[in-house]
Symmetry: C2
Subunit: 261 residues, 2 copies
């Protein structure tokens, strides 16, 4: 049973997850960050000890959550001391085997986009789990279910595909918002005018599969509007992006027209 | 003052707008559609008469709303009879001048994505207005404010830019959802797992400008994850799209790094 936790990392995921765990009554014993100030700031919020030295990491906690950026994950794991508890990382695209030096290891992947500025409601965050044996899995599952009702097993290969899908539906979508923001800014129009449409587009996914929810000039084959829009886009790259996405939407719609019924 | 309305069209906008107008106590006198069945179906829901003949369109209503697809808008206007009331179209990318044959004309552009399957709450739909003179504008403004609290003037050039921004933030975003849906389907993973992330990504726009809300491997410059994802994408076109959008996000982030503070 997991009660005492050491958090390795002090970024978005470590912060949001740590705050939720404390709320749920778990004991965060210690926060490690290579930057002592960052470790201290988060440790204070979690009522925990802080350290910036791997040699000082406590070795007898039940769970170690390695929530650091993918780029430094391997190097952090290499430097971590031997510990008795279960060790998990939180990275969607990294394999579980990176943690093979620990007898009890796994992946605890909260499938959401985390921003420091926004508190995350873990009650609606799917948690994808993987573990190196059934006993560890059962432990992690019991633990995860105290945080979110949506807990599912997912091996490293499947998790990578889910992360890839999230890049399109989350990261690339946000960039579409950014492009729209730029267009409006250049024309002195408030971004507020776009917010209801952004929300409705997202809300549609609750009840309609995306191919059925597609609207706009591309899916209607409305060349008149498409050409007007291309004439407005004097940025060559953006012009090409509009053109390609419009063609993709038309083709995708033709290929999948049977899915729409 | 606008009380009696004739609706020209029976598609998504005509349907959702018509239903809202009836709820608000307006009298929809007649629905025109070139397809009589479509006209009848909508007319019944709106407690109105129906017709498929322009010669039968009533000429003494206060307002004529031409809510037809952009592709046929010009031809519909050419065929419409002379009428006494104000005539507006609802198209974001079409100029007001198309209605020049009417003394009182304008544009009533409800800025939202409309799907037949979903009821639209006009209370959160910005309505962009244009009119050929101040008196007509005042009439339309009074009318629009009975439907939505967000009513703003917007000339044809500005409206085109807003529509262009909406294609990115709405239509292209939905296509990103569709790509994610495909990736998950191919791997037998339910689209449900992605819905909380889609909602959170949209909700972030309420409090953060998109450049500040950007997350993911591209903005972090995480080549390791980007290369893993590219290796998973064997569809050449999709592979290129991932690559280009990732590069755009990195460049955009560099160019606008000062906006983030």
């Amino acid at each position: 049973m997991i009660r005492n936790i050491v958090m390795i990392g002090s970024g978005n995921v470590a912060t949001q997850l740590g705050l939720t765990l404390v709320k749920k009554g778990f004991n965060i014993r210690q926060v490690y960050s290579r930057n002592l100030t960052n470790a201290e700031v988060l440790a204070q919020r979690l009522n925990a000890y802080s350290t910036c030295k791997f040699s000082e990491v406590q070795t007898n906690a039940d769970l170690y959550i390695v929530a650091v950026s993918d780029a430094v994950l391997l190097s952090v794991i290499e430097q971590m001391p031997k510990v008795n508890g279960t060790v998990v990382h939180t990275a969607g695209s990294m394999s579980m085997d990176m943690l093979i030096k620990y007898n009890r290891h796994g992946v605890f992947y909260p499938f959401q986009t985390f921003t420091k500025e926004r508190e995350v409601d873990f009650g609606v965050v799917p948690i994808l789990l993987e573990a190196n044996n059934q006993e560890v899995y059962a432990d992690l599952q019991y633990f995860a279910k105290q945080i979110s009702p949506i807990v599912m097993g997912s091996d490293s290969a499947q998790r990578q595909q889910i992360h890839l899908a999230a890049v399109f539906a989350g990261n690339f979508t946000n960039h579409m918002y950014a492009i729209a923001h730029e267009i409006l800014k250049k024309n002195n129009i408030s971004f507020d005018v776009l917010k209801p449409l952004i929300m409705e587009t997202a809300l549609k996914t609750e009840t309609l599969i995306p191919i059925k929810a597609q609207t706009g000039p591309a899916v209607r084959g409305d060349k008149n509007v498409i050409n007007k829009h291309l004439a407005l886009l004097d940025d060559v790259e953006l012009n090409m992006l509009y053109s390609k996405l419009s063609r993709r939407i038309a083709e995708f719609n033709n290929q999948h027209s049977s899915d729409k019924n």
